[in-house]
Amino acid sequence: MVKEYSHPEVLVSTSWVDEHKHDANVRVVESDEDVLLYQQGHVPGAVKIDWHTDLQDQTVRDYIDKDRFAELCSSKGIANDTTVVFYGDKNNWWGCYAFWVFKLYGHADCRVMNGGRKRWELDNRPWSREPEPRYPRTNYVAQEPDHSIRAFRDEVLKHQRQGKPLVDVRSPGEFTGELLHMADYPQEGALRGGHIPGACNVPWSRAANDDGTFKSAKELEKIYAGEAGLKRRTPVIAYCRIGERSSHTWFVLQYLLGYPKVRNYDGSWTEWGNTVGVPIERGAGKPAEKEAVRSGT
């Protein structure tokens, strides 16, 4: 059993952020599900990066390319050697998503503020309602995308056929295929419900405590290695609906538990459940998943 996180340095506390938020080599980045939260109040000095309007291409279903990523960083005053600290709402769900995109383009020093907005609030730390601060422009140079952390559909299919582990981090209802698509909006969901055959179901939020911080290494080990039976050396692919919740689980597996080969399948269920001819399984999956159903999301 592991006692400590494998890469404890990637997590920083709210007090660390409070102390270092104005350091020249530190840039605090807020990424939220709710687009108004930053305006409602943010960590003083933090910039805002929106998962949808900043990190995704608005035409092709993909992330912004390397050049636009470099432009985004330059415009936010992030240099190649800047320590970038991500935080946000919902247990840092979107913070982890932004972290993943930064790693995709090779940013070296990425951290997550443990507990995100919730912990900052609980600690009674100050919120700023000032407009987003402007920092001196940098000349950021992005790396080619690192596909060792990103899985594409055909790779997932191959991985599935080889019987390698997949973690479905959606809610039990989505996993079993019971949950219906959004009413009036069938195009929002997928044409088929269920999960990728062989996947285990570990709802992403099980990795977080009530105060938004991550569970201890020991508790995480119990969930992912124990219940879900994920072997450290076997390549693992995590997915959800559009690859956001699974970036949180990717972060947990790769950085907190130290799994060396974890990929996020960002196409996720909205691609898989709409793809002609791919295998799908409905109902309860492996035994580990039944435990997850009992404990809820």
């Binding site: 599900e33 709710d34 687009v35 108004l36 939260l37 305006q39 409602q40 929106d50 949808h52 309007t53 995704q56 608005q58 709402d89 919902k90 907005r117 959004m182 009413a183 009036d184 909006y185 929002e188 559009i242």
Partner: protein, 144 residues
């Protein structure tokens, strides 16, 4: 005589249209701050999970009543979801006090009228649209 729902949608849309895209988010934030509190009699229902809009990732609880044939909306949205809260507040402003018939004959896709699509992105817009549809369904059910 109060304005029709269609006219109120036009009015609110005009308020948004006057602003720069950035300021529109500020206006939506202002709307979020003026959504009335949930009456005490409905809080127990909410705590029991009644009234939840299941299409929404964010916990959103909605009730529509039509006393004297006029739409009355009650809603509860977590303060951590100001965008959704702001939009529910916009819907409250345009629908409350109208007749169900008037409310249901107004455009269903009103979410696109407020010039916030670019700032919010398509996924969020769909979530808001689902809320508008939920309100319309509840209006229809309450009036039936």
């Amino acid at each position: 005589m109060s304005a029709t729902v269609a006219e109120r949608i036009d009015q609110v849309a005009a308020e948004f249209a006057e602003l720069e895209p950035r300021e529109r988010l500020e206006l939506l934030l202002e709307f979020s701050e003026k959504l009335p509190e949930l009456p005490e009699r409905l809080q127990a229902e909410r705590d029991a999970g009644i009234g939840r809009v299941h299409e929404c990732q964010t916990p959103v609880f909605l009730w529509v009543e039509t006393p004297q044939g006029r739409v009355q909306i009650y809603a509860d949205v977590a303060p951590e979801a100001p965008t959704v809260k702001g939009f529910v507040s916009v819907l409250d402003e345009v629908f409350s006090g109208a007749t169900p018939q008037d409310a249901l004959s107004a455009e269903a896709n009103l979410v696109h009228r407020f010039g916030v699509a670019e700032a919010l992105g398509m996924t969020r817009m769909r979530g808001l649209q689902a809320i508008a549809h939920a309100i319309r369904r509840k209006i229809a059910a309450s009036a039936a």
